[in-house]
Amino acid sequence: MFALARLCLVSLLLALAAPAAAQVREDELSEFSEKLEIGISTDEISITSDFRGADLTIFGAIDGFDEKLLAQGKYSIIVTLEGPKEHATVRRKERVFGIWVNTRSMTFELVPESYSLSSTRDIETIAPPGELGNMGIGVDHMRLVPLGFVGDGSNLGEFRNAFRRIRETSGVYQRDPGGVRFISSSLFRASVRLPANVPNGVHVVRAYLFRDGLFVAAKALPLTVVKTGLEQAITRAAHDQPLIYGLFAVLLAVITGWGASLLFRKE
């Protein structure tokens, strides 16, 4: 926690002073004069085994803004933290001969394993649903493309809703309308939540700037999440050296079983 707090402080200084090392420019051609800059002080986060979730703070600034529009509060910002993408299968149970059986399933193509969203206000009031849908911003507008044959697609909606509901109740998909705050006229601070079961891998921090419902600019930064500690070493061993891991598991069982019988025989 202290480490994170320090990290935030450092990033604030960096954002104020000069372009930080981790800053990535993603200049986009647009007719707008506004530009968006964001910074986090590190591109890697180590998570120890007692990790219970944390808040990540991202600082950013709007450049080339219109004073009048800013004063009227016409600028809105959405910041997301998207986890690594995997295929996800949703299954539906039905009663068959008295017992509950998974009967239908649908696999969605490459959806993020975690997703946290912060915004200056409720995203539905920032931009029209069509715009959010096109850009895939927010859990409700996230692209959920089914993989393979889905028949007439009549149950696509229910599977999509179930997916969103389960991911939100389990806490890996979160939203915080109010998590982005302006700390000066054009400088903002966003906090996004890293869930306790945050997946390993490359996450992407994205910031979007909207002006009066229109998309203006976006910026993305990669953030690598690495779990550390004994548990992580075990997970890595299980996946990278599965045969040795299996042999070790058996050896441990042999030693425990045999050892106990020797120990208790002497009594």
Partner: protein
């Protein structure tokens, strides 16, 4: 006090896991069973993903069976030749079982198949044991001696070809039923995380007519190797062996077993069997209820991990 299980990907209360391991160890020591058929369902009741519970249960079986196997080996009550034939069938069965396990997991029916197998096996074995032990208790009350089975009796199994002489068991028997039995137990080990002793021992005594003196040792010999093999194959194909969970269970289990043995020696055989039968039936019924009552959420999501 919680401990994070790296493979199951969840935090559990270590005291509950220790308690579970000790209780099952105690019962397995008391009844002389491996305890795999109790530990796996208990883990599932405690929300450990069934894929992890099964593979980790097999690891626990290795620990709980090894000391018994060594004792029998020292006493010379293992028919190594017979055990090897069983083992050959067992390894093939376990390989097929792990393959089936992966297949069922892919199509999303693994949890159902595990539960159904448990309900059917625990229900039938528990029912038969209860029936038999109540009969024995009645007869004991009436002071009648139970009719002893004649080992010389032959059935159709003894007419099969490919006969082999098993010197230690003093038996001349076809390898086909022996390897088939091993094969079936191997499948159960890899899909259910059980050693299979509770099926193998009666099958060896009543179907194959193998002398009781070598049955337990020989079945333990097969169980140790088949479950060790299953752990290794599960670890390398499904990555579902949770070594932290297995270790906590093992430690508690082997200690609990030592005390279970002492209590078991004070109880009468048929009383023990009736108690074990009730326990087996209770676990089976609990699993059956789980299948019948409407689930909290009819939808579930699975991704690279085990889902939530």
């Amino acid at each position: 006090m919680t401990v994070y299980l790296p493979i199951a990907e969840l935090s559990v209360n270590i005291l509950i896991i220790l308690g579970m391991g000790a209780a099952v160890g105690f019962l397995s020591g008391m009844f002389g069973v491996g305890g795999g058929f109790l530990i796996t369902p208990l883990l599932i009741f405690y929300n450990i993903p069934p894929v992890v519970a099964v593979a980790t249960g097999a690891n626990q079986v290795v620990a709980s069976s090894i000391s018994g196997a060594i004792t029998h080996f020292r006493r010379g009550t293992i028919d190594i030749k017979l055990g090897t034939v069983l083992l050959c069938g067992g390894l093939v069965g376990a390989t097929l079982g792990v393959w089936l396990f992966s297949l069922l997991r892919r199509v999303g029916q693994l949890d159902l198949v595990i539960s159904l197998l448990y309900v059917v096996l625990l229900g039938s074995v528990g029912g038969l044991m209860l029936w038999e032990s109540i009969g024995a208790m009645r007869k004991a009350a009436k002071n009648q001696s139970t009719p002893r089975r004649r080992p010389g009796q032959h059935n159709w199994i003894h007419g099969l070809p490919l006969k082999m002489r098993f010197k230690k068991s003093k038996i001349y028997l076809s390898v086909i039923p022996v390897a088939t039995l091993g094969f079936a137990i191997g499948i159960l080990t890899s899909i259910m995380g059980v050693g299979g002793g509770f099926i193998m021992v009666p099958a060896m005594i009543y179907l194959l007519r193998i002398p009781t003196s070598v049955v337990v040792g020989t079945s333990l010999f097969q169980i140790v190797f088949v479950s060790a093999y299953t752990v290794i194959v599960q670890a390398s194909t499904n990555y579902t062996v949770d070594i932290v969970l297995a270790f906590v269970l093992m430690i508690a289990g082997v200690i609990g077993a030592q005390y279970g043995v002492r209590v078991g020696q004070r109880l009468r055989g048929e009383q023990l069997r009736a108690l074990l039968a009730l326990l087996v039936l209770a676990v089976g019924i609990r699993l059956a209820i789980e299948l019948i009552i409407p689930p909290k959420d009819i939808y579930s999501v699975v991704s690279a991990g085990f889902g939530f």
